[in-house]
């Protein structure tokens, strides 16, 4: 594990701010059983960031980062959008490259890390919005599934281009009025979870982030399966409360409402994935 890169030299510790010392001493490193239940007690790997107050995406990011089984050896590849405003503040090696090329960059990183460190586990996770994953980046996303890249892809679906000011995306529901769809969206929401299954993902889940514990379970499964079997895909509903006209404290209710309809929990796994998941469960890691 690469915990050493967080370890501060004793001689210079006096000069370091508390947040950095806490990162060394109070974050959960080297413990695959870490999870969302640690959040109140340990140093989080995310510092202050500039997402809107009450943004469900910021909750999702906190749950996901808290659930990574191997954070000290996890690389996250990101794409352009609201999430990229958070990435400078995540205490891991992360990449923002171009809008839509995240799965391509992640493929290169994963393959080279396997070649450079054949005896180490280095998890590569892609984390991007619906525009990046399904519109501009769909080719790179699906092709990485076809090629069976051993990476986990997580899509933050807020059903809109939020960072650019609220334009219709491929994941907007039919009929919804957004900018660039002034008459309402003319076609159906893209069933990305189904495309992921058809394109060769070994573990696919669709859910909202209303339940932190469920997010943790899904993320862990997706990462363990990607490590050993092949691509995995997690589709999370993280509504843009700003663009759908809700208050800062409405995010959770919105997600709970969708839990009962278009984001009802859905999980798919191949037999190989199931084998891995069962084994990980037996080892007490799930």
């Amino acid at each position: 594990m690469s915990y050493k890169i967080y370890k501060i030299n004793e001689e210079l510790k006096d000069f370091m701010p508390k947040e950095i010392i806490d990162l060394e001493e109070k974050a959960t490193w080297g413990n695959p059983k870490r999870g969302v239940m640690d959040l109140p007690y340990t140093k989080e790997l995310i510092e202050e960031h500039s997402l809107c107050a009450g943004c469900p995406e910021s909750m999702a990011l906190r749950y996901i980062i808290a659930s990574l089984p191997n954070p000290e050896d996890t690389i996250i590849v990101n794409s352009t959008g609201c999430t990229s405003l958070v990435f400078p503040h995540i205490a891991l090696h992360t990449v923002h490259s171009l809008f839509g090329n995240q799965n391509a960059v992640a493929s290169g990183i994963k393959r080279v890390l396997e070649w450079r460190f054949p005896d180490k586990v280095k998890d590569v996770v892609v984390l991007a919005g619906d525009g990046a994953t399904v519109d501009i980046g769909l080719d790179c996303t699906l092709q990485s599934f076809f090629r069976q890249e051993k990476i986990t892809t997580i899509c933050f679906d807020n059903e809109v281009y939020a960072n650019t000011g609220g334009q219709e995306s491929g994941l907007t529901v039919k009929g919804h009025v957004f900018k660039m769809a002034p008459k309402g969206k003319q076609w159906d929401k893209v069933p990305m979870w189904q495309l992921a299954i058809d394109s060769g993902c070994h573990y696919v889940a669709r859910l909202t982030v209303s339940s932190p514990k469920r997010v943790e379970q899904v993320i862990k499964k997706a990462i363990y399966v990607a490590r050993e079997v092949g691509p995995t895909y997690v589709h999370l509903y993280t509504p843009c409360i700003l663009e759908i006209g809700l208050n800062s404290d409405d995010g959770l209710d919105e997600m709970r409402a969708r839990d009962k309809e278009r984001f009802a929990f859905f999980e798919y796994m191949t037999p190989q994935a199931e084998e891995v998941i069962n084994r990980i469960k037996e080892e007490g890691l799930l």
Partner: protein
């Protein structure tokens, strides 16, 4: 570096456009002159010992215990600060920090001038900062402040610093500390 101040219409001056490149191996760069390492070390020590609020900015490569060299260098940075009577302000990572930095205790490559202004630093040493971020920061410092910049680089050096020492490893840092002690004596400090 050749001059203090902006270059053309860009707010950030670039020494290479004035024909100043990184020094060849075994040599150092002082303003726009290639000189022996010892001469540059002597002048660097003098700048740190005579200018106001001298400060060392250690970067991630010496702050964290990621290899044996880093552990050794951290000890030397501490010692160097003692000899030079310098403050230590860390550049512990390179992120654009939200909502803002505290310029009294940290320096950030995206706006290094804030820390230099706040602490009225007139001489500084960059050590253990990755070359790209050192270069980005040094260009900004050169145009925005009157701080005398010294780069102690383990690679090829930084022509935008006023003094650049290249290939600086444990042995070279020890040599610098020895020279600094001599200069300090000469200055009667």
């Amino acid at each position: 570096m050749a001059h203090i101040g902006p270059s053309g219409f860009s707010p950030y001056p670039v020494a290479v456009y004035e024909g100043v490149l990184t020094p060849p191996p075994g040599k150092a760069l002082m303003f726009n002159e290639i000189v022996d390492e010892e001469i540059a070390m002597r002048e660097a020590a003098k700048a740190m010992l005579t200018r106001q609020n001298p400060t060392i900015f250690p970067g991630p490569q010496v702050l964290y215990a990621w290899n044996e060299e880093a552990k050794e260098k951290a000890k030397l940075v501490r010692k160097m600060a003692e000899v030079l009577g310098a403050k230590i302000i860390p550049m512990y990572d390179y992120r654009p920090k939200y909502p803002k930095i505290n310029p009294a205790i940290e320096i950030n490559p995206n706006h290094p001038n804030l820390t230099i202004w706040h602490n009225k630093i007139k001489a500084c040493i960059f050590v253990g900062v990755h070359c790209h971020y050192a270069n980005v920061a040094l260009k900004i410092i050169r145009a925005e402040t009157d701080c005398f910049t010294i780069a102690m680089c383990s690679m090829a050096g930084h022509e935008d610093a006023m003094i650049t020492l290249r290939d600086q490893h444990v042995e070279e840092m020890e040599k610098f500390i020895k020279i600094a002690e001599e200069v300090k004596k000469e200055l009667g400090k």
